[in-house]
């Protein structure tokens, strides 16, 4: 009986915690942004998806709730509203935060490894696998001496 009530307590706690979680979710502010043209809206969504939040570096501006990300989203919105092009917004961010702010960094001497590193590793891995497989094949090939071959022939002839 005692055990059961403990379980009930735990269950109640669980429900409570889940509920509070949902409550927080409900209270989370939803950012509403209005655009003059559909083009502007598209530019905005592309930009906030491709610009990195520098505070939580594995998120883009669209996903991040960091205060800086909010400010930068606002900055993007304002610039587009004032008639800036996509490139102008990207330039604005790069002059301030460097190429790092781009999820698709430009090809440069410093980013060559970033672009071709995966290909390089793939080629290395492929070469290793191929040489390994070839060696195994050689090992599997049984060397037969002349004597053995003669014996095999005579056995077959019988």
């Amino acid at each position: 009986m005692k055990k059961f009530s403990l379980f009930q307590h735990a269950l109640r706690l669980c429900i409570l915690v889940t509920m509070t979680g949902f409550m927080n979710l409900a209270q989370a502010k939803i950012e509403t942004v209005e655009f003059a043209t559909p083009q502007m809206e598209e530019d905005y969504h592309v930009l906030v998806a491709e610009l990195r939040c520098l505070v939580c570096q594995n998120q883009n501006l669209a996903d991040s709730n960091a205060e800086l990300a909010q400010d930068l989203r606002h900055q993007v919105y304002e610039m587009l509203n004032k008639g800036s092009s996509r490139e102008e917004v990207v330039d604005f961010m790069v002059t301030r935060y460097g190429d790092f702010v781009l999820y698709r960094p430009p090809m440069k001497l410093t980013t060559v490894l970033l672009w071709f590193g995966p290909l390089l590793f793939f080629i290395i891995a492929l070469t290793i696998v191929i040489t390994y497989v070839r060696k195994q094949k050689q090992k599997d090939a049984v060397e037969v001496t002349q004597q053995q071959q003669q014996r095999a022939h005579s056995l077959l002839d019988e």
Partner: protein, 176 residues
């Protein structure tokens, strides 16, 4: 030879990953090094009807320190800055970033004021212009108004001794 390949490969991987672990992913190379300090005109903390601009500091080597009372590591850094300011090596201008002026004043009263002047960047726009992404950040600017160094994260005693102070000395020797 080939039986050494796996251990060698493993060893190389350990070295590469080991180097990776010692790097700080938050330390993004600043595009500002060697470029003129972005201009701004902001009200000062103590006298809001007066303004401060980077151009006011031309002709001397100075530091811009971005801080806020809500920033936890700024508190850790503060002591180092106060000590630095007492040694009179370099004027430190504060950029009070997205903060409440009353709280900021209180903080300076309680913990000491290392700044010659504080600029109030209430909405964080100047912060964006300076590429600020994590307080505290500290810039060292030379006599010509060119940014020569940026420290992301708190200036601690070691960085100060090994990097910043020697740089200041070098910059102060340069022609303005």
């Amino acid at each position: 030879m080939s039986r050494y390949l796996v251990p060698i490969g493993f060893f190389l991987l350990v070295i590469v990953l080991g180097i990776g672990l010692t790097l700080d992913p938050r330390e993004v190379p600043s595009p500002f090094i060697g470029k003129p300090a972005p201009e701004f005109t902001l009200p000062t903390l103590n006298m809001p009807d007066q303004t401060i601009s980077p151009s006011d500091m031309k002709g001397q080597v100075w530091m811009l320190n971005v801080w806020a009372t809500w920033c936890v590591s700024c508190r850790a850094e503060h002591e180092v800055l106060v000590k630095l300011s007492r040694s009179n090596h370099i004027p430190i201008v504060g950029l009070n970033y997205k903060d409440e002026s009353e709280k900021a004043k209180q903080w300076l009263q309680q913990l000491g004021n290392p700044y010659v002047v504080n600029a109030v960047d209430a909405d964080g726009r100047v912060g964006i212009d300076w590429g600020v992404y994590g307080t505290p950040e500290t810039f060292v600017i030379d006599k010509k108004g060119i940014i020569r160094h940026k420290q992301t994260g708190p200036v601690h005693a070691q960085v100060l001794q090994e990097t910043i102070l020697p740089l200041i000395q070098k910059l102060q020797g340069e022609q303005g």
